[in-house]
Amino acid sequence: MIKPEGSYVDLDMPKILSSKKLASLWHLMKGYHTNYLIATVFLGLAAFARTNMYLVLGRYLDQVIGEGFVGNQLLLAALNFGAMIVLQAISSFMSNWMASFTAENTTRRLRDYLFDHIQRLSYAYHAEAKTGDLLERATSDVDTLRRFFAEQAVGIGRIVFIFIINLFAIYSLSPHLARISVIIVPIILIVSMIFFKKLSKAYESYQEQEAVLTTNLQENLSGVRVVKAFARQDYEIKKFDDNNREKFNRGKKLNLMHSFFWPISDLISAGQQIYSSFTAAMMVINGALTIGNFVTFNSLIAWLIWPIRNLGRLIVDTSRAFVSFGRVSEILRAPEEDLFSSTYEPAEGIRGEVEFRNVDFEYEKEHPVLKDVSFKCEAGQVIALLGSTGSGKTSLVNLLPRFYDVTNGSILLDGVNLKEYSRSYLRSQIGIVEQEPFLFSDSIRDNITYGVHREVTQEEVEQAAREAAIHDVILNFSNGYDTLVGERGVTLSGGQKQRVAIARTLLINPRILILDDSTSSVDMETEMQIREALDKLMANRTTFIIAHRIQSIMAADLILVFDKGEIAQCGTHEQLLNEPGMYRDIYSIQTRIDSELQKEIDSVNIL
């Protein structure tokens, strides 16, 4: 039964999220309810077997003292006792097994669900969300839920079962004993709940200091050159020692709480037990109970009182599980991006004609990022977007794969409104090469084939890599195409990453291309190679270039100069040169640079 079962898809998330806390957690276990019920039944059986074991022991002792056993009755009685232990053991095992089976499966499904949900949340959601926070919720909060299913839910059930069955058994021995034995129970429960609540606060403060200490250490290590440059070792030692001591002090406080709680609660529980036990002993002497009853009672009362302390802890932990569930459901409530609604898919594929009609776009209300943008281009044309940071270039290209949708106006692709196409289909037709592309810590081959949804031969991969001028670089790595990218393998330079992304896009073979042509962080030769690779990539594709250099702009069929979200100038290179404006200013740069440089050199020679 080690293979996990069930798929996350059958989770009815709306139902889970709309239910009350406990019911939500119950719905989350969907598919494992039977297992959980089995776990519960065995919990009861285990409690019953344990109680019965002591009853059997009592009867056995009375028999031994009294008329004695005849023949093999003694062995049978002993075996009966052993059988109860074994029944108890098997039942405990079954309930723990079923509970952990449920807990692990439920958690695994929730993890998968969350992973998938998070990657399908909208672009806007991810722009806002903090990675660390998302991660924290998807890992440690989910683990808190796992512990709820595996430990708290079962633990509370176990204690309640034991309590009820034992109380019932004691009652059957003597109602009076049952009454006097539970006096302390509410007190212990309340005391332990208060204690564990306080403890968890103190523990948090201890953990916080641990984090401070870790940060201190990390900053010291990453700033080791500064420490050495100012010879501040003694200062650093003192700083760390202060933080270290603070952690020690908080640990001391935590420890003091433990040192008081355990002995005191021991004392209270033991007081109850001694009182009950003495009463029972007197009853035996008075003839109201047998010695066997006394032994039984003595064992049952221990199981009645001592687990209550733990119940306090479990209840406090459960409230933490509810908090965690709240944090997880905040993520789950956020709507996923709809990838597949709208079904228009031209049979012959798209050509790549793009038209913007009076497009307005804003991330937040009243803060327009694009204002009344209109232009049209033919399939296969190159459109250069120029403008300073924040002028709207990036926002414009983000509209094409429908990472965001327009606020007003419309975008037409081959004459059809973009919203008619499903997001999934659109994205399959659009390739993006960013300035500093994100690569995954897989092999280089995996990164190149990352966007292709079919089997790719090694020849194809190499062909793409050659065209992207990265093949030779890859062969120089120790494991060639199997070399891992990132911490466990090679660290690629910005230019190399960009070429891997170019190879990746070549394999996808999209009709529309979005490029960030900044290549400033590479040397001349590499820059040439990247240029050539980009030229190959752009051939026959409608290309939107966020342009940083003259060469790509000059070759463009349409140049859009953006200023504060609006198209300030638009036209071809020749057209724009003939009108006054920003464009003409840029174009004259090279000639100006040459003359400035000459002046500079001359000035040196004259000096």
């Binding site: 009685a77 990657q119 270290n244 640990g251 355990w262 010695i291 920003m582 640079i593």
Partner: protein, 609 residues
Amino acid sequence: MSTFYDESEYDDNVTSQGPVLRRLLKVLKPHWKTMLFAMIGIALVSFLDAYFTILNKRIIDEGIAESNISTLVRLFSIYASIVLAQSFGFFLFIYLIGLQGERVRYDLRKALFNHIQKLSLSYFSKTPLGWIMSRVTSDTEKMADLLTWGIIDTTWAITNIIFASIYMFTIEPKLALIVVLSLPLMIIVSFKFRVNIYRHYRQSRKANSKMTASLNENITGVRVVKALRREDKNLKAFEVLSTEMFRESYRAAFLSAIYLPTIQTISAISLVLVLWQGGLMVSGTTLTVGGLQAFVSYIMMILWPIQDLARVYAEMQNAVASSERVFSLLDTKPAIVNRENTLPPTSLVGDVIFENVSFHYEDGEPVIRNLNFQVKQGQTVALVGPTGGGKTTTVNLLCRFYEPTSGRILIAGHDYLEYDLQNIQSRIGVVLQTPHLFSGSIRENLRYGNLEASDEQVEKAAKLASAYDFITSFEHGFDQNVGEGGNLLSVGQKQLISIARALLAEPDIFVMDEATSSVDTLTEALIQKGMHQLMSGRTSFIIAHRLSTIKSADQIFVIEDGQIAESGDHKSLIQQRGIYYNLYTKQFRHDLETKFDPFIDAGTEANTA
């Protein structure tokens, strides 16, 4: 560095446990009295635990069976007093041992941190930051746990088994033999289970860190995931990881679920035998009812010390491995240490001379070859050249972060090996390319340059570095919090603060690695001004990227392949029309392109000659 440092990459195969264990026990040496006290205390508690059963036996046999109320009252009074005394004992030794644990953690962390401060830069360039961090954080925890609760639990468990066995033999040797013979089986089974559970638990931790890393990557790369429609495939890949996590975690849980029931079942065998044979004895009156009852209690309770033993045993191997790593860090010798008979602390004002200096990190791969130059007191030197040419190594040698493998460096007339290391490093001011600030206020960061500086001095330095205006514009001024690593400030602001910090230190020699990242024009001008303040009157070495810095230098060294390829001032080098000329004109073009292009994105223009 990695946030998800994979701890479980290290296996726990310790070469030989003996020496490590002996050394581990030495950690306790300063606290041996407390430990001894606690161990005696726990042995006493353990004795009383075993004695309770005897007391119960006597309550049944001498009190109840004899219907002797006064004996009954007396026995219950003894019982109550022992409980009271034991609670007090519990309090004492939970307190002592817990405190002990905190103290050992504190001591270990302190020893490690203090030792780390002594290590040379070369150690940090070869050792991942995460590795060092794990030694100080998690390994010390494991060691402290073993040294406190590990020892205490073991003591309790062993004495408890021994006391219980002795009592059983005094009650009835034949029955006791049955129980004692079953012990080895229970102990072996327990150990096997515990070791396996612990192994799967560790595997699940490993799987968990892989899973977290994958999730992290998917969130940071979500733009690419969406653009390339990788959702389905990524989910499949994640499912592999989450299934692995499930498998290990579930196996650990399954083994835990079956573990206790298994040893309970084994104990059931001895219980049945005891009840059977014991029943016969009671009928034959060689055994009392209380005695028989005591046996049942002992057998049931002996499962606890056995479980404790097994748990400590399973965790011990891991803790010993942790200790070995911690000790190996403590044993690492700093590569650079003071020579004997160093000069007393003194100023470093004077010429700087490199005499045939060569240096390599690895044998056969020279980084600096036969470097010779002389810099007069107060001159500014600009180091230029390609990345990897040796500029940074040159200044690292000057700061004595590394020492030459051959040749000498003379500062103010002495071989710098004659100076005290601290003396050199505190008299040379360094401003790094990516300024590193510490969490805390701006004032605290500035004072890093001079711990004794008064508020006036701090403000004066800030003014000289042109940082005063932006600092006072913050809500809390100099007390503004800079965030972790200074990340609440902009790059330019961090640079200005690091310049002010260096000014406050009033170094004799100034070393700067000029930043390549771009800042706005105004901040750039402020930085230049601050640098001039630092350079004036001081011998300065600048790894230069700004043309204005390079041009104004007294000497320019073009460093290529660990050698000085060209040297001279700006004018003579331009006239040579060599490497420098090319570097300069290229950088000049680039700077102008940046300057003239109104569309260029901030941050993309970073480039160096």
